[in-house]
Amino acid sequence: MADETNPASGDSAGLSNGLVSHGDHKSRRVYQAARSLHSGAVKDLLSLGVCERCVFRLVSVEAFDSDLSSVSASTLRSWLESGDEKDASSEESSCCIVCLGVLQFVFSDAKQTLLRSECGSDYAARVTDLVKEEGHEFDSFGLEVSVPATIAENERAVLLYLKGKYNSESWLQSEKISVKDALKVLVLDPLKVSLGAKSDSSSFQIRLTYSKASDEAQGASETTRERKKRKTDEENGSTSMSENSFEKVYEPCILSVHCNKMPIFFSGRYFKYSRNVSQTRWIIDDERMGEASVEELIGGNILPACLGDSYKFHAAGREDIDVRMLGSGRPFLIEVQNSRKCPSQQSLTEIGEKINKSEKKLVGVKDLKFIGSQCWAMMREGEAEKQKQYAAIVWIARPVEEKDIDSISSLKELKILQKTPVRVLHRRSPLERERTIHWMKVEKIKGSSHYFLLHLCTQAGTYIKEFVHGDLGRTTPSMGSILGCRAEIIQLDVTDVKMGDS
């Protein structure tokens, strides 16, 4: 071990055990700051059981900064007490009565093993291991820290004691950095190095959560009466804090590390070839309606590729379970929560092919790709303003005649009034909605005089089935009223969903 007396210039090697020789100009700054602290206050706090970094934090006038990170607690202690190197304490210092070990880089893990780190980089290495367990891929992160409320109370108690003894001192008047912020200052740079990532307010958050080891041992929370007494005492300027007020048992906290990534989005267009597949998962009384859902067939393939926790499906409009989605497909978004990795475009293309080549051919996708914050604007485009195109097979009670084909095709921008269809009236408002049928085209079907293929282009939100059969006369005009006979719809397909750019 190097001879650690007064700092000498020139010698600037960092030592492997985390201690830095005095030659390093950062530690030199810290040494000088340590020597300049009010020695009486320092001595008092150390003997009360406040840790070295908390002493620095509470007594120093200079800003608490990351230079402190590389100085071990024992070295810092020796600098605070006297310039000389005493036995660099091999004895374990007790748990700080203010920060409960947080700034001493001491904590218990999930298995209740007590872990100590000498300096910031050692602590960062431990945290890195825990982060890596979650398996996220990232190149930048945001750091959040949360500590138990009793730490604030402990700090208040110590400050009260200091005010009692050193009331008018200038160093006492400056605002003190909190334990939470002090920890961030100490470990952010080492974490950046250890994780190999930048720090920013990014979509990937690492949260360090300290929690109390047990209820009693933490200088447990004040009761309401104690809080009132303390507040009136502070007002009166009296303090009953003496050295004796601090005789409680203090235990280090339990640290848990949680990582969370903001949701990522994928967009594409889907096709629905089956008349027995619903758009979203549809379960009534524990029984699934239909044999599958578009949502699960697509989301269920994307989620594993992202190693995410869960997904949400958003589509620009919807169709009934018995209606096929053909033409250019319907735009959709898949939102994945807490993904661990982002699949490449190549993987996405392969996922799309896998879905399209599947044996049952229930659903198809195209243009599956990663999409950023413009995803919601894209969805809104597909919603209310756009036109939709359909093809229906219609039956009427009398044979189709030429004049029928002409009269239907000649109707342009036909306005219809639709009362809320009976089949959705239980969950929608009873309203009368005006809608426009932009154009219609009739194709006869070979071999049948009563059936024909009806192509129509309508305003978004039009109920097509009700337009054909009239919904007990609640949609007017209807196919039946236009042709003057009963009309029924046999099947319906969506043949196009027009968006702004297609």
Partner: protein, 218 residues
């Protein structure tokens, strides 16, 4: 390409296939038309791919989506009504074909919703929760239908909230004569609780039972 497509679609066709006019078109446009035609042919074959055999007369929307129930001689002989219940629980109420009113010469000439304490045709139900709907019991009066000879009270038959009455009947009472089971429906009622419907159901009969009872072939 888009604009071209709609123009083609607007031309009335006289045959199975769509004929595109090829005069005055450049080669490019002709190519486009061919492509489109191919797309449309493909689309048509997909559209017609799973229809199977088309029956001469398919079941009506009512038959497919509703379960038909009937009640006969409700509070008075000859007062036969139907209750079509949708899978979502809503019930459409109307006059069954054997209702005594249809036997009068000239059929039904008038309908009046102003019975009981209020005019049923002025209720304004709003919102998903169906606020302001009139609560009905099974024997609550719904309306009065009149013929040249007499008038008859039609009742709800279902306990629940009255969501809607068919006010078109006021101006067109002949709908009751021509299509009482479709455009001539009288009201839509939402049973408020599943238990209410289960109890109601006990006094109703099925379509088969109705046919048998009335010896009518429908």
């Amino acid at each position: 390409m888009e604009i071209q497509k709609t123009e083609v679609a607007k031309n009335p066709e006289t045959d199975d296939t769509i004929e595109t006019t090829k005069q005055n078109q450049s080669e490019e446009e002709v190519e486009h038309c061919d492509e489109q035609k191919q797309e449309e042919d493909e689309l048509r074959s997909v559209l017609l791919s799973d229809i199977g055999d088309l029956p001469l007369t398919p079941p009506s929307a009512t038959q497919v989506n509703f379960v038909s129930y009937f009640i006969t001689d409700f509070t008075k002989p000859g007062h036969d009504q139907y209750i079509y219940r949708h899978a979502n629980g809503l019930c459409v109420i109307g006059l069954a074909p054997t209702h005594i009113a249809f036997k009068d010469e000239g059929g039904i000439t008038n309908i009046d919703f102003n019975v009981g304490k209020s005019d049923r045709s002025v209720l304004k139900v709003s919102g998903k929760r169906k606020k302001n709907a009139m609560r009905s019991e099974s024997n609550t009066a719904l309306c009065k239908v009149s013929t040249a000879k007499d008038s008859y009270i039609v009742r709800c038959c279902v306990k629940g909230s009255l969501l809607e009455v068919n006010e078109r009947l006021i101006k067109q009472p002949q709908l009751l004569n021509s299509s009482a089971d479709r455009e001539g429906y009288i009201a839509i009622i939402m049973p408020t609780r599943p238990a209410d419907w289960t109890k109601n159901k006990e006094s109703l009969i099925t379509l088969e039972e109705y046919k048998a009872k009335k010896e009518v072939s429908l």
